[in-house]
């Protein structure tokens, strides 16, 4: 599974500090002066990731947020440009954001999104948001029943590939900076921090061990990949899966690694004099038959089985081939959202039950 680890961004020794929990809100308040601060917030009976106005309302003991933080880099609906009588104006978002309190699995996902959107010809809309966003992730010590990052190396803590990573050590945080930007950011408030001692590292080790021990699910994506590539998984299996599909697109919308979008143009202000066209993009999903529809009306993937099966093939086979890691970080969001219970964990689980015996 080691080959699935995100590519290391830095090579030198990890920069580490210790931050007293009493100073966390002061630190965040300082950060908020220069950034929009986004964090999980207890909103009535749910936890949502949104802009924080009152720091004490941040809920760090929360389960996975729905949807994933990808919406801050690649929103569900994003205006791209407008064309009016006075030319084209670019609507790219370049707001500076700190996203605090996300999980390691989501940071792992962002690393893969970066590979997808930024290598080769970079996607300018993603790029603009990405370079202005900094993630402060928390080593996960409250996994959901649906989480399975532990077996994938995408969590519960990261060795590389994070901006700033926090370990909860009871009364204090061990804070690791994984990038130059992150170091600079922490450096501005060095007076709040101290260097870690031996005890801190012992507690860190304990935190790592205990968070790993808390996972209920063990899902082997590698096992599933092999069963598929060995040709063990028959189409009957996928047909059963497809029959439970509600075609809601939720698996794709919730997935921190799904990247598909559609582009639409809309004409505002009718009348020839002040016509304005706005181009936007919005989340799309391979679960829809129209997604691969052709201009003449032909629908190559009209049968549902072709679409559900493809989603799993993409995550389990094409992703490792093209980006070097599974298209799944074990965040468990599809398990939460899928009305038909044909999410990654359930399907892989069932595949194991049916095909891995003997």
């Amino acid at each position: 599974m080691k080959k699935n680890m995100p590519v290391p961004i830095k090579t030198e020794a990890v920069k580490e500090w210790v931050l007293d929990k009493n100073h966390l809100s002061y630190w965040l308040r300082q950060l908020r002066k220069d950034f929009e601060l986004v964090a999980p917030l207890r909103e009535r009976n749910d936890i949502v990731l949104k802009r924080i106005d009152r720091i004490h309302e941040i809920a760090l003991d929360c389960p996975a947020s729905i949807p994933s933080p990808k919406e801050f880099l690649f929103p569900q609906f994003e205006p791209m440009l407008t064309k009016g009588t006075d030319g084209i104006s670019d609507l790219r978002d370049g707001s500076k954001r700190v996203i605090f309190g996300v999980r390691s699995c989501d940071v792992s996902a962002v690393n893969l999104l970066d590979k997808f959107y930024l290598s080769g010809i970079a996607d300018p809309y993603y790029e603009s948001r990405r370079k202005n966003t900094l993630f402060i992730s928390l080593v996960c010590n409250v996994p959901d029943g649906t989480c399975f990052c532990a077996g994938l190396g995408t969590g519960p803590y990261l060795k590389t590939g994070y901006d700033i990573q926090l370990y909860d050590l009871g009364d204090r945080y061990l804070l690791q900076a994984g990038s130059k930007d992150a170091e600079r950011l922490v450096g501005r408030h060095r007076f709040l921090m101290r260097k870690p001692s031996k005890t801190d590292h012992e507690d860190q080790y304990e935190a790592q061990a205990s968070s790993k021990a808390m996972f209920a699910e063990r899902i082997s994506l590698e096992g599933a990949r092999q069963m598929i590539t060995d040709g063990k998984v028959a189409d009957d299996f996928w047909q059963d899966v497809a029959e439970r599909c509600f075609e809601c697109g939720g698996c794709v919308y919730e997935c921190p690694l799904c990247t598909c979008f559609s582009v639409i143009d809309r004409k505002y202000n009718a009348g020839p004099a002040d016509e304005q066209v706005e181009r936007s993009r919005l989340w799309d999903a391979c679960m829809f038959k129209g997604f691969t529809g052709m201009a003449g009306g032909a629908l190559p993937a009209e049968k549902r089985i072709l679409r559900t099966k493809r989603w799993f093939y993409h995550k389990l086979i094409y992703y490792p081939e093209t980006l070097g890691a599974f298209g799944c970080t074990g965040c468990g969001r599809c398990t939460i959202t899928c009305p038909g219970k044909i999410d990654m964990a359930s399907v892989v689980h069932r595949m194991g039950n049916e095909y891995s015996k003997g």
Partner: protein, 673 residues
Amino acid sequence: MEKFLTVCPYCGCGCGLYLHTEGGRITGVSPSRNHPVNTGSLCVKGWNSYEFIQHPDRLKYPMIRERGALRRATWKEALRKVAGELSRIKDSRGPDAIGVLSSAKCTNEENYLMMKFARAAIGTNNIDHCARLCHSSSVGGLSAAFGSGAMTNSITEIKDARVLFVIGSNTTEQHPMIGMHMLDAVDRGASLIVADPRKIPLAGFARIHLRHRCGTDVALLLSIMNVIVAEGLVDVEFVRRRTENFDAFSSLLEEYRPDTGERITGVKADDIKKAARLYASEKRSMFFYSMGITQHVTGVDNVKACADLVMLAGHIGLPMTGLNPLRGQNNVQGACDMGALPDYYSGYQAVKNPASRRKFEKAWRKRLPDRPGLTLMEMLHDGVRAMFVMGENPALSDPDTTHVRERLERLDFLAVQDIFLTETSEYADVVLPAASFAEKDGTFTNTERRVQLIRKAVEPPQEARPDWQIICNLSGLMGAKMHYRGTYEIMEEIALLTPHYGGTLHHRLDEGFGLQWPCPDISHTGTPYLHRKKFARGLGSFTSVGYMPPAELPDGDFPFLLTTGRISFQYHTGTMTRRTHIIEREEPVCLMEINPEDAKRLGIAERQGVRVKSRRGEITVTAAITERTPEGTVFLPFHYREAAANILTNPALDPAAKIPEFKVCAVAIEKAG
């Protein structure tokens, strides 16, 4: 990024979702993870419910028709015109010459104000809304049987049920989040009985699929009950303690032995017996129905038969049981509760009852008319000279639309208040721009009676206003001043006058995911299931009547039976879904489902154009050949203006509920061109 917890504007499930905004613009939605209905899921419409909100087609300013065309007007001008015209017609022809259509898409507060406007400002009981077209038979049938016509149990109970009996509801496609709970129950070992002429997706999970002929529901249900009685599966204790009128009913049942049932419905007698045994012998049995039961000339009879079956087996008044009509619109339950009906004030307090009339007269300080008003279909087919239509589109949604359009054309005055220009607004003299669900506060009541807050996330486009403010403005101009500082004040008035909603004040609803009525007072925590220990009317009554065939059956000239309904990717008249890129791309054309055998006989190929003709009109659609629909029957969705199924449908009405028979009419089919 900001996120606002609100309620989905599509079906009656009432899923909790967050609207996301950035810089005053909607940028997406996400499901509420802990909401009892959707628990972190949404259907495709919910996931894409953000897109139409800021569509450029939104109505942005009032418009007045001049020389045949609509022109921009100021609010002052438009409101004066509406108030002036309505007052003129009221003075010259009497208030009953005016009809008002309220909206199952608007909030409880707005529906309440609309019925107050009709009754107190105009002075007529001619107020109705689209519940007439979907569940008026439930209201009528269940009032007779139980004394109250709403879903008896809760959505969260479904997953723990042992038997689910679903008749006339394509649940996984039309109430997807309820369908999700049903699949959950099946996964946990529950047995599913589906009764539907079409092979709907849910049938794939059923232990028994009863494919009865369209319109033979009464015969099917009576023969199931016949088996229950014959095999001694009746819950005798329940029938004795809690019901009346069993003797007359049981003699009716004798005529419907399973073989008789088989002859009428086409379902094997054996399957009828199996379904009866399965449903009656398990205690945690829930019964669900929807439009397949209600939209018939025998709609009320169908509902009564469902109620009798539930009582016969004693499956009511407990968790994981009950009779559960699934409501189609986000707030159709609320619009009924609020009295947007010609014969009831809010809380089903009858207009005919002098005591309730006096109560509302006192509260509103106005004399109120004492005669029940006209229903939606009656307004459109005779009677009124002027109409005020809020958030409805009868020119596409009602049966025999050719006739409906003629009637709209002939009205002296028509005002339409909506978020988009609709087919109905083509006939409007004044069009008023309203705010969408994302641009106002208020409450929706979902199918399980859950009263939930919706929250404003963005400003309405340009000059558009929330419906409740428009009604207040108009009412003031017509001499009945309404003044509320916010929708919470309207709810306070509703709570005072409506026993069921006595405790559903906004500050209480704000705390969690709403309250299920009856919620009579400020400390009450809501009612998850109804008819515990006692029915609303005291004793439950067996009220079934015998089987009657549909009003128009196939014959030599029109040999096919047409049944209509919704598909999962479009919604009603499409004003919202057809402006949603992803959804419209999925189902852009009107497809007619036809059985392969029929297609072969007529020489129709897949995706070929066909002409469908009924006694009332004809449309051209595209054929989709599928086993889903039985031989001799074709299915059409009613969403498409370019191929409006309701040009064909039969306006024959249930005599009591006045619901038209959308589910059965006779058509002829031929290849187009």
